[in-house]
Symmetry: C2
């Protein structure tokens, strides 16, 4: 499956990818699948400053480590850090994707992408990737919650029995 | 670089791989390098029960998710779950590695491997992989500490100022 110029399709996906888990990998695999068997997957990893601006807190893992870890996944052909000002138009202009894949929780990004694509009369295919199951550890916040819960149970045990479990 | 029978060298590495981070990836890359450019890297991922027995607590991520995530790394050719009884001899007998790679913190495993290899007069190459830098987030416990510290600072701010930061 190739684009109009006969080249392999380029798929663009983006995200924070803090505390890498299987949900991230499944999202990226599904995104790449949307570009056909020979697709190239380029992933834009959100800057710490962008995450702080949009979510009110920095990720646990710094941006360079999140980006390198994403690039070490077999499914990913290239991972780059996003732009400080979160301008998805700039990203699309530079990467020139054939397919733009968006996760179930990327509502705002979806609006920005649609606006940009319509305004510039581009024929990029936009695909929405669903959520995979409902496992609590398929999300960064679920992992953080489990770590904190374990710590709190340990602190409680220490305060009650004077020693760790 | 091939083994005596002219085949690609098989490198065996093992670990828990809880909260996957760049330190894990660097360890696996270095392990694979030890087998030459065409090496196949097989990774044995420790069972939850084995980790509980040796470290006194289960990992945050369950064994099937840790194993699948390790296998989704480009550097890894195959990832399998370990044996319940932690018998490294059984692992070596089944996988028949040319090279056994051990991390800087796998002291006990090192002794078991050396005992097994010497006892069975095997000519496996055993390589020790050093620690990469001293970044606090290049370890699962460092990541857990950061998550707990952030949570505690937030709880303190909430109790002092009646709202979250």
């Amino acid at each position: 499956m190739a684009n109009k110029s006969g080249q392999k399709k380029v798929v663009l996906a983006s995200g924070v990818f803090d505390l890498l888990h299987l949900g991230h990998v499944k999202f990226l695999e599904e995104a790449k699948n949307a570009g056909g068997p020979y697709a190239q997957l380029v992933v834009v990893v959100a800057r710490d400053s962008t995450v702080e601006k949009t979510k009110g807190r920095k990720p646990i893992m710094p941006e360079d480590q999140r980006c390198s870890l994403v690039e070490s996944l077999r499914v990913v052909d290239k991972a780059v850090l996003g732009y400080e000002n979160l301008d998805i138009g700039e990203v699309v202009k530079n990467i020139k994707p054939d397919v733009i894949a968006l996760g179930y929780d990327q509502e705002d990004m979806m609006k920005q992408v649609l606006d940009y694509v319509n305004k510039n009369k581009l024929d990029d295919q936009i695909v929405r990737i669903g959520k995979f199951g409902e496992k609590p550890l398929d999300s960064s916040s679920g992992i953080k919650k489990k770590i904190i819960d374990k710590r709190e149970r340990l602190s409680y045990a220490e305060s009650k029995f004077g020693q760790s479990q």
